[in-house]
């Protein structure tokens, strides 16, 4: 297992962000080779002293927990919780580790996965800040949001795409509803059919149900069990 210890974090400056943006246009292999030239070039970022380890994690939840305690143990970092330069440098540092032993289908993907884009429709896609924001909001019960924290970091999956895309669901009891419905409590992994297009899927829960009843029903004022009790027949197989 590849573990690298650091005595600082970096905050990319404008030049650092531009160079990272340019590098991300290259094929994955080139990015993996070249990324350390950026993250070790002190002209491209400001150093903030703090001890932390970069190591592989299986799930977004584990990564988010690590990041949460990075902030908890280093109060000086608090002001960087939403800083584009901070999250982008951290993503750059983590990039080779995230692709270590990753499936062949893992791709660099869009820029917002690496460089924090603080638009409402995009911020959750950042591979580090996205899970952290969700964990931070649901703390001390982040496991209630396992539906959007349980997946792989580099391939977050359909559940994240469907549930985390709507912040009114991701940062409310909606995330817990999705967890109860779609996460197998024994394995912690998504149930079969949760990610598909079919009846009762996560896509149906967000687009065809919660976002629709939100017009007439104050569901965020109810608890997860009450909401699940209201779900129509098509969700029955996931209630078990």
């Amino acid at each position: 297992m590849l573990i690298t210890k650091f005595d600082h974090v970096g905050i990319f400056n404008t030049n650092g962000l531009t160079q990272f943006e340019e590098l991300l246009k290259q094929p994955l292999d080139s990015v993996k080779k070249e990324i350390s030239n950026l993250t070790s070039n002190t002209n491209l970022y400001t150093e903030i002293e703090c001890d932390f380890e970069v190591k592989p994690f299986e799930t977004r939840l584990q990564l988010a927990e690590c990041l949460y305690f990075l902030f908890e143990s280093n109060p000086a970092l608090s002001k960087y919780k939403t800083d584009k330069g901070f999250w982008s440098w951290l993503a750059a540092i983590w990039l080779p580790v995230l692709f270590e032993n990753s499936p062949k289908s893992a791709k660099l993907g869009e820029q917002a996965r690496w460089i924090l884009d603080k638009q409402k429709a995009k911020y959750y896609r950042h591979l580090l800040a996205g899970p952290y924001f969700i964990y931070n909001h649901h703390y001390p019960n982040p496991e209630k949001a396992l539906s959007i924290l349980g997946g792989s970091i580099v391939i977050p999956g359909e559940l994240v795409g469907q549930i985390a895309a709507t912040s009114d669901i991701a940062f409310s009891v909606g995330a817990e509803v999705a967890t109860i419905l779609y996460i197998d409590p024994l394995t912690g992994k998504p149930k079969k059919g949760a990610s598909g297009l079919g009846a009762g899927s996560a896509r149906r829960l967000s687009a065809a149900y919660l976002n629709q009843i939100d017009l007439t029903l104050d569901y965020r004022g109810m608890n997860a069990t009450e909401i699940i009790g209201l779900l129509p027949e098509e969700f029955a197989r996931f209630k078990q």
Binding site: K25, P27, K81, T82, K107, L108, E110, D117, K118, Q119, K120, A121, K122, Y123, F133, N136, H137, G161, Q162, A165, T166, S167, D168, F171, S172, L197, R203, R204, A207, A208, N211, Q212, D214, L215, T216, L217, D218, Y219, R220, G221, M222, E226, L230
Partner: protein, 258 residues
């Protein structure tokens, strides 16, 4: 994202009756001055705050509410307070536990310190529309452009966030918005976003002379419309070049092939 059509019989609370504003970055001040406080026998008045990385609910009143008042709400746990938007709703509590919304405000935007540009709420609101037969459509509602994306197959978020979709439509969207500005000359005082759209168009080559010339044309005939259209194409062209739209599309397609 909620659909824009209200066919549910909820009453709208006029936008001027409720406001939110930031106080010292640590608190949010919610003020109301309601024209109608006859809200039924068993209700809760709830303010919902939604921001990048946080959501919050605050019960403002239960079963009775003064005509006017204010509530100071701690938002110290919000990551980006400037990205807050609000929704004030009156909820009727049914005996079976159902919480029916009987009244609600339009989306509340901060009166001060709101984020602009790349952060926070985008200049262009996007609505998913299950009835839309074309992939997208730009409409001009409430004195601002709104992008509607077809949700016929319940995958509007995927369509909207796809690189091919975005790179293909954005210059055209910008062109249509510039055309709207030049032909309709919407009132900037009615909606703050209009001012930002003008500024954006200026950034891409629409000069103040162009603006005064085109908006002062009282009668717009075929020739002047063609002239405006040409100007808008130039602006959209600059937008596409500055944002390397074609390169982004091309890179994406190459990466997909690999």
């Amino acid at each position: 994202m909620r659909a824009s059509i209200n066919q549910t019989g909820r009453k709208k609370i006029p936008v001027e009756e409720v406001t939110i504003e930031l106080v010292d970055g640590e608190f949010l001040l919610f003020k109301w001055n309601l024209s109608d406080v006859n809200l039924g026998a068993n209700f809760e008045a709830v303010l919902e705050l939604s921001a990048i990385g946080n959501n919050m609910r605050q019960v403002v009143a239960v079963n009775q509410i003064p005509v006017s008042g204010e509530s100071k709400i701690s938002i110290s746990n919000f990551l980006i307070p400037q990205s807050i938007i609000g929704r004030f709703k009156v909820v009727n509590l049914e005996k079976d536990g159902i919480r029916l919304i009987t009244r609600e405000s339009q989306t509340l935007r901060l009166k001060n310190n709101k984020l602009e540009g790349e952060q926070g709420k985008s200049l262009l609101d996007v609505h998913w529309d299950q009835q839309l037969n074309v992939p997208w459509q730009l409409i001009f509602d409430d004195s601002e452009p709104i992008l509607k994306v077809s949700d016929q197959f319940e995958n509007a978020p995927k369509i909207y966030s796809h690189t091919v979709f975005q790179t293909s439509i954005l210059p055209e969207v910008f062109k249509q918005i510039t055309f709207w500005l030049l032909t309709e000359d919407p009132d900037e005082n009615q909606n703050i976003k209009i001012g930002y759209w003008w500024k954006l168009a200026e950034e891409y080559g629409l000069t103040s002379e162009d603006r005064s010339y085109f908006t002062s044309l009282v009668e717009k005939n075929f020739e002047t419309i063609k002239e405006i259209d040409l100007k808008c194409s130039e602006v959209a062209d600059k937008f596409a070049v500055r944002h390397k739209i074609v390169q982004k599309l091309s890179n994406y397609l190459i990466e997909e092939e690999e």
